[in-house]
Amino acid sequence: MSSIVRVHGLTKRYGGVTALDAVDLDLPAGRVGLVGANGAGKTTLFRLLLGLSQPDAGHVEVCGVDVAADPIGARSRIGYMPEHDCLPLDQTAADVVATFGELGGLPVRAARQRASEVLDLVGLDEARFRPVGGFSTGMRQRTKLAQAIVADPELVLLDEPTAGLDPSGREEMLALVDRLGGFGVAVVLATHLLDDVARVCDHVVMLDAGRLVTDAPTETLLHQTGTVTVDVGPAAVAALSAALAARGLRASADGSGSLEVIVTGDHDLDTIRDVVAELALPLHRLTNRLTSLDDVFTRSTPTS
C-alpha cells in the first residue's frame, strides 16, 4: 500500500514545551487512527501536515508533496475537519459547503453540485438550506465533515470527529468515516477514543507527550491472546476455577465476576464446556479475549 504521509524526525516546540519530539511516520493510504491523550501532539501534527506551522526540525511529505517546499500544493490535496466549532453560523449548510468547495479550487457550478452530493452523503440533504447556527452538534459535525470532503481531497484529516456526539450520532459519524475509506479517500482520524479507532481504522499511530509510541496495522495490535473469558456468574467463580485447575487449566478471576482461562486449543474449550456442565452452572458467556487498544496504549505509554 502506498504512503500517504511521510514524516521524518519531526519536532515542534512551543516555548519550552515539546509538542512533537523527533517523530518518524510512514502512513499508508486507508483509514489511520491517530491516538493520544489531550496534549499528545495530534492537532500539532495536523497543523504541520497542513503547512500551517513550521517544524523546528524534520521533514513532512503529504500525498507525495514536500509540505515545506509547497504548502499550497499540499493543502490542495487535503481536507481538514477541525475539532472546534469553525462554521459561519449565519450561512446555510449548502452555502458553507459550496464556499469551501470553491476555496478548494472547484469551479462555482461544480462546487454547488458537489456540496449537494456530499450533504446528501452525510445525511443533511433535507437541512441543507437551513442556517448552520440552528444545527445540533451532530449536524454541525456532519457539515464540518462535508466541507472537508467537498473538494474531493486525497487525504482527509479528521480531528476528534465524534467529540460531543451522543451514542447514535457517534455511531453514524464512525459509519461515515468507515464509508469514506471505502470510497478510496485516505483518512487520518485523530481521537482519544480508542474504541473509535478500533472500529474503523486499518492502521494505528499512538502518540504520548509528543513521542511516537506505536505505529502498526490495527490487526497486528488486536491479535488473539490465547485467553478466553468465561462468565458463569460471580458466585460460581471459585468453584469453576478449582474444577478447571483440577483438569490442568490455569484460570484467574478478572475482577468483574468472570474467569480468564488460558487455552491452547479447541480441546481446552471442550473441557471448559464439560466442567461447566458437570457443575450445572449457567454459562452466560464464553469468548476469546482480544487485546484491546486500551491494553496496547496502557502498555506503550508510561504517562497514561
Binding site: G73, P82, E102, L103, G104, R114
Partner: protein, 300 residues
C-alpha cells in the same frame, strides 16, 4: 389483486470522485473575494442585510438625480448651466460611504475570527496575503462602485439634458479619467482602513465603532487645531488639517481634479500641501497594509 411489478429502485449515490477542472491558489483567492463581495452587498442573505447597500446606493445617487433634474428644468433659462454639485465635490462627500464601510468591513472580516472560521480557510490552498487581498478587494469593489456609479448617472444625465450631447462630451473629457482614478484612491483608502480596523477584533460592533471613532475623532482634533490657529479663516491654511484621516482621500481627489488642494479645504495655502497630503495618504495606506499583513501573517 394487482400483479404489477414495481420497477422503482433506490440507489445509494455514495461518493463520487471529482475529475473536472481544479484551480489553485488564485482560484481560491478569487472564490474568497466573490464570497466576501456577495456578503458585502447582501446576496444570499436575509433582506435585512440588503438594506445597507441599497440605502447607500440610493443616497449616493440622489445628488446626481437632483443635479440632472435642475439641468432639465433650467434648460433655455438664464440659470442654464447651474451645477448643484460638481464631479469633484460629488466624489467622497457622502458620510453614508463611511457608514457603509463601518458596517460592511466588520461584517465580512470579524465573524471569520470570532467563529473560528480562519483555520478552516487557511487549511485551503491560499495564504494570509490572499485572504487580506480578497477582503480588501471586496470592500474596494463596493466603495468604488458606489462612488463611480452615481458619477456615471450624473455624467450621462447631464449629457442628455445639455443642448448638445457631443459638445458636453468634448467639454468634459477630463472627468472620464479623473473620476475613476479618484474613486479608486478613495475606495482603496476606505477598504484598507476598514479591513485593518476590523482585523483587530472579532466583534463587529467594536470594529465598526472603532472605525467611526478613528475617523471622527481625527476629524474633530484636526478641526480644533486648525480653528485654534485661525487656519480655517486665513488664506495660509494649517498643516494640522492633515490629521483629518477622513479628508485625506478628498485631498488626493483635489490633486487629481485640480492639480492642487481645493480652496475650500483647510489645507489650502499650506506650502507643499499636495505633497504632504500624498505622504499622509500613503502613510495611512502603509500602516493599514502592515496591520493586515501582521494579523494574517501566520495562518491561524
Amino acid at each position: 389483486m394487482s400483479s404489477s411489478v414495481s420497477t422503482g429502485a433506490v440507489y445509494d449515490r455514495g461518493y463520487r470522485p471529482y475529475d473536472g477542472p481544479r484551480g489553485g491558489r488564485r482560484a481560491a483567492a478569487a472564490a474568497l473575494y466573490r464570497t466576501s463581495l456577495r456578503r458585502a452587498v447582501g446576496l444570499r442573505r436575509p433582506w435585512r442585510q440588503k438594506v445597507a447597500p441599497a440605502v447607500l446606493l440610493g443616497i449616493a445617487v440622489i445628488p446626481a438625480v437632483i443635479n440632472v433634474g435642475i439641468g432639465y428644468l433650467t434648460r433655455g433659462t438664464p440659470a442654464e448651466g447651474f451645477e448643484f454639485i460638481t464631479y469633484r465635490e460629488y466624489l467622497g462627500v457622502s458620510s453614508a460611504l463611511l457608514l457603509f464601510v463601518a458596517l460592511v468591513a466588520p461584517d465580512i472580516v470579524c465573524p471569520d475570527r470570532r467563529q473560528r472560521v480562519l483555520p478552516l480557510i487557511f487549511a485551503r490552498p491560499l495564504t494570509g496575503r490572499d485572504y487580506g487581498l480578497a477582503k480588501v478587494g471586496a470592500i474596494f469593489t463596493c466603495v468604488f462602485a458606489f462612488s463611480f456609479l452615481p458619477q456615471v448617472v450624473l455624467y450621462v444625465g447631464q449629457m442628455l439634458v445639455s443642448d448638445g450631447a457631443l459638445d458636453y462630451l468634448s467639454d468634459h473629457t477630463a472627468v472620464l479619467w479623473q473620476v475613476p482614478i479618484a474613486a479608486a484612491a478613495l475606495a482603496l483608502f476606505y477598504a484598507l482602513l476598514g479591513v485593518a480596523v476590523a482585523s483587530l477584533t472579532g466583534r463587529r460592533m467594536v470594529a465598526g465603532a472603532t472605525l467611526l471613532g478613528i475617523t471622527l475623532v481625527s476629524s474633530a482634533i484636526a478641526g480644533i487645531l486648525v480653528e485654534a490657529d485661525g487656519g480655517d479663516t486665513v488664506p495660509t491654511g494649517h498643516a494640522a488639517a492633515l490629521l483629518n484621516i477622513l479628508a485625506l482621500p478628498l485631498r488626493i481627489r483635489d490633486l487629481i481634479f485640480l492639480g492642487r488642494i481645493g480652496e475650500d479645504a483647510p489645507l489650502s495655502g499650506v506650502a507643499g500641501g499636495g505633497a504632504l497630503s500624498i505622504a499622509a495618504y500613503l502613510a495611512v495606506v502603509a500602516i493599514c497594509v502592515a496591520v493586515i499583513h501582521q494579523r494574517y501573517r501566520t495562518a491561524e
